[in-house]
């Protein structure tokens, strides 16, 4: 048997350190070659690290959420044959590893971000997406409490271990031992009674909830938090909201969707993208990236449109490159492809980089007004609110129209309000007269 020391590789961008997003193995596991071991996060993306060897995990260096220098030992294996580490490598007992399962309290929460195995890369870009609400620890079984809120159950470590093994939450087990301690016999009785006998006479009642759960902000969530903070701290945002009558556009969209079955289904986004592509040449200061350290605005001829996408682990922004060169259906296909890739965690670093302006949409949850956060270092973000039918006055008559708000934010350091408003009005005009979207 030999010892094999696996060092944290340079996972891209020449970074000096990277964050452990989530472990997928624990000490003592037997792993096969190429087995998914750990997720490592750089500034841009989560990278899945696979096992270079088959063997037994002896030591895991670092916990989820910790930074590790590139080149430092990440995992130590015991393998058949000759390893690459000297025999005096640290013994497993001498190095604190990731806490083994029994050490964690039964209700110990797992960081939601870290829980996901292969989520897509993070994006600097970001919009107004509420952070996922931390979920309560799973599998709290019985519905009755036997002690007052705030009274912690008392039990020996051996009893706690057994309760953990049995999946029993001690809070619900009555204790008959000295000073109310829970004994093995109490556990037996609890199990024998199906988990509720001891409190069977207690009527179901509304229980107060107590306790504070700490969810460490790590991994993708931390990246999002840092980017949002940086964007809001450095960019003086101003938002502009305008309503758009999309009745005609919706008719056209439904017509096109009904006409061509072999083409991708059109959502509103390709139309909006096309409107932006047509408008932006007249607003070069808006299709831009601002290097505020150097004091230079980089105006881009190409339109690389970021599409803010909600994924199970958080917000990412894949990029429709050269949107100006795509027709409506090509744009629709590319948006759909990228969204799927992002949700499946398959988006590449290239697909997640280089946008010059961003679109954000909450889809049917889109609300009335929002305040998008600019995807720094871009200078503008266009947010789509929900389409609703509203009574509108047209020619002195009240008519029902399909209306949608556009809520957009701009970097006021380099974009003036007048220009921003003019840009949005131009888009509005194109969307309200959809034929103009297709006229040169």
């Amino acid at each position: 048997m030999g010892l094999y020391s696996f060092k944290l590789p340079d996972v891209g961008e020449g970074t000096a350190e990277a964050e452990i997003a989530a472990w997928h193995v624990k000490v003592g596991d037997l792993v096969t070659e190429d087995q998914h071991l750990v997720d490592i996060m750089t500034d841009k993306a989560v990278v899945e690290i696979s096992s270079p060897v088959a063997g037994k995990i002896l030591v895991l260096h670092g916990d989820a959420g910790q930074m590790r220098p590139v080149g430092s030992t990440l995992i130590e294996f015991e393998i058949d044959g000759v390893g690459n580490a000297k025999a005096e490598a640290p013994k497993p007992a001498s190095v604190p590893a990731v806490a083994p399962a029994p050490a964690a309290a039964p209700s110990a929460p797992q960081a939601p971000v870290a829980a996901k195995a292969s989520e897509p890369a993070p994006r600097p870009a970001l919009t107004l997406v509420s952070p996922p609400v931390p979920t309560a620890p799973a599998a709290v079984t019985p519905a009755f409490a036997t002690r007052l809120a705030g009274d912690k159950p008392q039990a020996s470590p051996a009893v706690r271990q057994r309760a953990w093994d049995l999946g029993i939450e001690l809070q619900f087990v009555p204790g008959t031992g000295p000073a109310g301690r829970i004994t093995h016999a109490d556990l037996d009785a609890f199990v024998a009674a199906g988990g509720t006998t001891a409190v069977g006479s207690v009527q179901a009642r509304a229980l107060t909830r107590d306790g504070v759960e700490e969810i460490k902000v790590i991994g993708l969530r931390r990246k999002i938090a840092e980017k949002m903070q940086e964007a809001k701290r450095r960019i003086p945002h101003f938002s502009y909201v305008e309503e758009v009558d999309v009745t005609a556009l919706e008719e056209l969209r439904q017509h096109l969707n009904g006409e061509k079955k072999d083409r991708p289904k059109l959502t509103l986004l390709p139309f909006l993208l096309r409107a932006m592509v047509k408008a932006l040449p007249d607003f070069p200061q808006i299709n831009a990236r601002f290097d505020d350290d150097a004091g230079v605005v980089h105006r881009h001829a190409a339109v690389h449109a970021g599409i803010a996408t909600q994924t199970p682990s958080g917000l990412v922004v894949p990029v429709v490159a050269h949107a100006e060169a795509l027709d409506l259906w090509q744009a629709a296909a590319e948006i759909a492809r990228l969204a799927t890739a992002a949700r499946d965690g398959k988006a590449t670093r290239e697909e997640l980089s280089g946008s010059t302006i961003t679109i954000t949409s909450l889809g049917p949850m889109g609300g009335i007004v929002s305040t998008p956060v600019i995807n720094r270092p871009e200078v503008a973000i266009v947010g789509v609110n929900k389409i609703v039918e509203r009574p509108m006055v047209r020619g002195g008559q009240i008519v029902v129209r399909k209306m949608m708000n556009l809520s957009s934010s701009f970097d006021h350091r380099v974009v003036d309000g007048w220009d921003a408003a003019e840009f949005i009005q131009r888009i509005r005009g194109l969307l309200e007269q959809p034929a103009t979207l297709f006229m040169d």
């Binding site: 029994p102 020996s156 470590p157 051996a158 009893v159 706690r160 271990q161 000295p178 301690r181």
Partner: protein, 337 residues
């Protein structure tokens, strides 16, 4: 086999080693002509001469320093400190020189000396004749620490200590030199002659360092003890009726972790007993290793029964000495927790 008390067993060990190995020497205060304050070396000078068994000045630092130098040059000195309480002048030589020599010289030199020192209370020796300083030395990397509890173990462990290439602190529980003592000071003392552990072979044998001995099997609670306290723990198990498993550690460093862990995992409870004061005592280390290795098997907190945190009181010796009553109470508390 002859019946020996612990003094005789220790003398037998030194006699055998002086005979077997010409590099072995015995020296210390009054160990030559007089045969030692407790007569452990009686007759050895007459048998092996003044070049191999000799008296030293009353200078503990000098005794140990000389032994370190002898060891470096290939001899195997066995030195006696009359009482463990007097060892402190020699601690610099032990800690700074003896313990480090092998490491400092990358193995070119060793300090294979054995330091014998009677320790512990129960004999009304007062402050300066009753201390238990073993924890000081277990803390020093490079030193080994041995404490026997029977004549049989004393001989086998002392021979192993003399043969060991590292410096060994060999603390002898003087309260049980002449017979086992169960802590019931009001009872007549039983001599070793009536105890099975006094069946000591005449010839050579060793007991490996680092091997504990389960002296009483049991299922309810593990008692970790050494020296005189082994006998106190056995008495407490009988008195309390608690089915205690009593482990005689025999060597504190190296420690037989496997035996300890196996037992505590079986019983789920642990009581540590020693004569030394509590704060910083070796019981703290034992308690910690049990917690580290057996935490999820523990049914109760690890308890310590120790001397009090005062100098050893002459007038209140039996109040200070951890007797079977206190140990039995701890056993009961452990099983009722």
């Amino acid at each position: 086999m002859p019946a020996m008390n612990m003094i005789q067993a220790l003398r037998s060990a030194m006699d055998i080693m002086l005979e077997r190995d010409p590099d072995v020497l015995v020296f210390g205060e009054d160990v030559g002509f007089f045969g030692g304050v407790f007569r452990c070396t009686e007759g050895l000078q007459q048998k092996y001469g003044k070049r191999r068994v000799f008296d030293s000045p009353i200078a503990e630092a000098g005794i140990v320093a000389t032994a370190v130098g002898m060891g470096a040059y290939g001899l195997r000195p066995v030195v006696e400190i009359q009482f463990a309480d007097y060892i402190y002048p020699a601690t610099d030589q032990l800690i700074s020189e003896a313990a480090r020599l092998r490491y400092r010289s990358a193995g070119d030199f060793t300090a294979p000396l054995t330091v014998r020192a009677p320790y512990g209370g129960g004999i009304f020796g007062g402050q300066t004749h009753s201390q238990s300083p073993e924890a000081i030395f277990t803390h020093v990397a490079g030193l080994k620490t041995v404490i026997p509890s029977t004549p049989y173990d004393a001989k086998g462990l002392l021979i192993a200590a003399i043969e060991d290439d590292d410096p060994v602190m060999f603390f002898e529980p003087k309260r049980i030199y002449n017979g086992p003592f169960d802590g019931h000071h009001e009872r007549p003392v039983t001599p070793w002659a009536k105890h099975p552990a006094s069946d000591v072979p005449d010839g050579y044998y060793t007991i490996p360092l680092g091997q504990a001995n389960v002296v009483r099997p049991g299922d309810a609670v593990t008692v970790l003890a050494y020296g005189t306290m082994v006998h106190v723990a056995l008495a407490a198990a009988e008195d309390s009726g608690v089915d205690a498993e009593v482990i005689d550690l025999r060597t504190l460093n190296p420690l037989d972790l496997d035996t300890i862990v196996d037992s505590v995992k079986k019983t789920g409870r642990c009581v540590v007993v020693h004569e030394a004061t509590r704060i910083g005592g070796f019981g703290g280390e034992l308690s910690a290793v049990v917690q580290e290795h057996c935490f999820y098997h523990l049914e109760a907190p690890v308890q310590r029964v120790t001397g009090w945190d005062t100098p050893y009181p002459h007038a209140f010796e039996w109040e200070y000495f951890p007797g079977p009553k206190r140990v039995a109470e701890a056993l009961r508390q452990a099983v009722e927790a």
